[in-house]
Symmetry: C2
Subunit: 412 residues, 2 copies
């Protein structure tokens, strides 16, 4: 079996942790498997490098930033390789360019274009464990990086290119939970989720796996496992929807939530102005991320557009939209901070049209006022007051997860 293992920053956060990781890799190899390891930078070392850059320049050149940050993974990869060699397990650290990870010629947030696997395959064939630096690649002889969460993406891309049997993502949590266990005592680890569910959960604040990595895993059908490098727990398998649905009895897989949400409403946008396009292009150009968007027709000739942004961005976003007033001729802009978003996610929803209604009833019974609603095939999100988020998550977990737990557990 060929296993790709990715170890995140906390998993290689100290030499003590690197020893533990080396033991784990050695065990897989001693069981007769081939192993390719992808590592992040040690603990907060990337932040320390960013701090150095910030001390020198207000806005660092992206090429130089890539060259600077890529050293973090090179350090952890070399350290892990030397520890494995010391344990008698042949290993070699490979930087992005040494591993043949070719990206677009973009700095700071490049996408992987291709992986030249000759070097990796040759090492694997010789029984040498490649320890690949995550988060980085090469384009035209220049060091590039993949942006935040890039090491997950590196691991999945390598697993796809090498047709690995499984890609294990090691982190400091032992899997994907039905919701945040700090908020709901009965939250339980999922044995499996579908790629799409994982994607919704990842995007909705369950930051165990980077969304880009999940997308790639889905696209290339790479079987993922999310698990902890701190325990021997089994973790959560992330698998294709069809495979998952076969055994699926419960409709809602998990409850995700996000704090620090603000809502902006643009009232009375004349229909003929194509207001939506202008507003969101302008926000995107200024780097403001917009999440939920709701539009409804009020009068005959105008629409109201509501959308959410991260709370710290709200003033800037309002200013940007106000700047469009004369051009678009809308009536006014309203904004509201101190909100949160709560979502139910589950592949089973597609065939259960009553799920959204059940969510609204649950929130109503808990006296929680829903201000915005947005739905996708496998998700329903509600924007609610920030103070109600814990009560909402608990109530929803009770309705959708606890009530079905007997069935769900037996299904796995």
């Amino acid at each position: 079996m060929l296993v790709v293992q990715k170890y995140g920053g906390t998993s290689v956060g100290s030499t003590e942790r690197i020893r533990v990781v080396a033991n784990r890799v050695q065990r897989v190899v001693s069981e007769g498997h081939h192993c390719v390891v992808v590592v992040s930078a040690m603990g907060h070392s990337t932040d320390a490098l960013v701090d150095l850059a910030n001390e020198l320049v207000p806005r660092a050149d992206l090429r130089e930033m890539d060259s600077l940050l890529s050293t973090g993974e090179q350090v952890s990869a070399s350290l892990l390789a030397m520890r494995l060699i010391h344990l008698g397990c042949p290993a070699k650290s490979l930087t992005g360019w040494q591993a043949g990870i070719e990206t677009e010629a973009v700095h700071g947030n490049a996408r992987i274009a291709a992986i030249e696997t000759a070097t990796l395959r040759s090492l694997i064939d010789k029984g040498i464990v490649p320890i690949v630096t995550g988060f980085q690649g090469i384009a035209d002889g220049e060091i590039t990086t993949l942006g935040r969460g890039g090491s997950d993406t590196s691991a999945v891309a390598l697993a796809a290119a090498l047709s690995a049997d499984v890609c294990e993502i090691y982190t400091d949590v032992d899997g994907v939970y039905t919701t945040d266990p700090r908020v709901v005592k009965t939250a339980r680890k999922l044995d499996r989720v579908s790629y799409d569910e994982m994607l919704e959960l990842a995007n909705l604040g369950a930051q165990v796996l980077h969304p880009r990595a999940v997308e790639n895993a889905k696209h290339f059908a790479v079987p993922l496992v999310v698990r902890s490098s701190f325990t021997e727990e089994e973790g959560t398998k992330v698998v294709a929807m069809t495979e998952n649905r076969m055994e699926e009895r419960h409709v809602v897989t998990g409850i995700a939530f996000e704090r620090q949400v603000a809502r902006i409403a643009v009232i009375g946008v004349p229909l003929e102005q194509h207001g939506l396009a202008s507003v969101f292009s302008e926000l995107a150009e200024h780097g403001v991320n917009v999440d939920v968007i709701v539009q409804s027709v009020v009068g005959e000739a105008t629409v109201d557009v509501s959308f959410t942004v991260n709370e710290p961005d709200v003033e800037r976003a309002v200013d940007i939209v106000q700047g469009l007033k004369s051009k678009l001729g809308f009536a006014r802009v309203e904004s509201e901070s101190n909100l949160a978003k709560v979502s139910i996610v589950g592949a089973g929803m597609i065939s259960n049209p009553g799920v959204a209604a059940q969510m609204f009833v649950t929130l109503r019974d808990a006296n929680i006022f829903v201000q915005m609603v947005s739905t996708s095939e496998i998700k329903v999100s509600c924007v609610i007051p920030a103070g109600a988020v814990e009560a909402a998550v608990q109530a929803l977990h009770h309705t959708f997860v606890d009530a079905n737990s007997e069935v769900a557990v037996s299904a796995n």
Copy 2:
């Protein structure tokens, strides 16, 4: 003019220091010169990486150590480049492999084999300052390092390959002194020394320039300047012997010294055993560095061999030599610790046979007992008791430097 500037670890030891270096580079460029910069790792960052490796393994794999340590220079090069770009001075950091520095396929202590200058020349032609990581290169796609002091070697090799007009070595001292100013108050900075004198001074403990770099500078006739990045002082020029001798009036250029010396004597080695070869091959194989070697014939059929080692190596060295006793049939091994070595260095000595005698007289008058003597064309070294080293250096400085300072100063 094309200037290669090399900044050592203390010169780029903090972001504050990197700002100062950036200003200095920018000034050279604004004066219309082309500039290629070579940097060491920041301050003690290399030691910190070595510590991490030591926490993991007793003896690190050399390939992985190279990959680990090479990140130090990559960090400082990126930081300096982004600061220069911020100042409006186009710059690009280049790792060893990006700069085309090809070395032997050896890890930990590789020699530079060739420099493929196409990338560097193209940047220079475009008015972009290449910021090259010192200490490292590439061999068959593997990251290699040049060993301690390797950044000096990188700078000199680049200066030679690019036919630079000058190679400036920036450090935390403002030049090469007649001796250590902490020992002799009247020690003064030399305006120029010859490559050979610098070589003897460097080997003898005046650690401003790595001997390998000086050797390469001499071989490729690269004009060197040693100066401080902390001041605007002129520094010391290291030039060819002939050029230097033209203006040379003083016989002794500097007084070097080294503490922590131990002497080992192998007494009564039968002549027919080729004892010298056996003893020193065996020591070299065990990694014991031998410095001064003196041999004298005592009886008709035996010789006594004396040599010095670094004090911390003495017990090990004695054990190694004792192990040869049955093979070589020598009488006994003696050793003495707590010694020092003091040397006078100067290109003018070649034509002044009385200099050694003048040194012995000076030491005798200071009541310092000389235990070993070794001479080269431009150097006389004496091994003396460690407690006498300061008195010896002061007396020799008085005899050879202070007495000639009027002449020497006017000669420059």
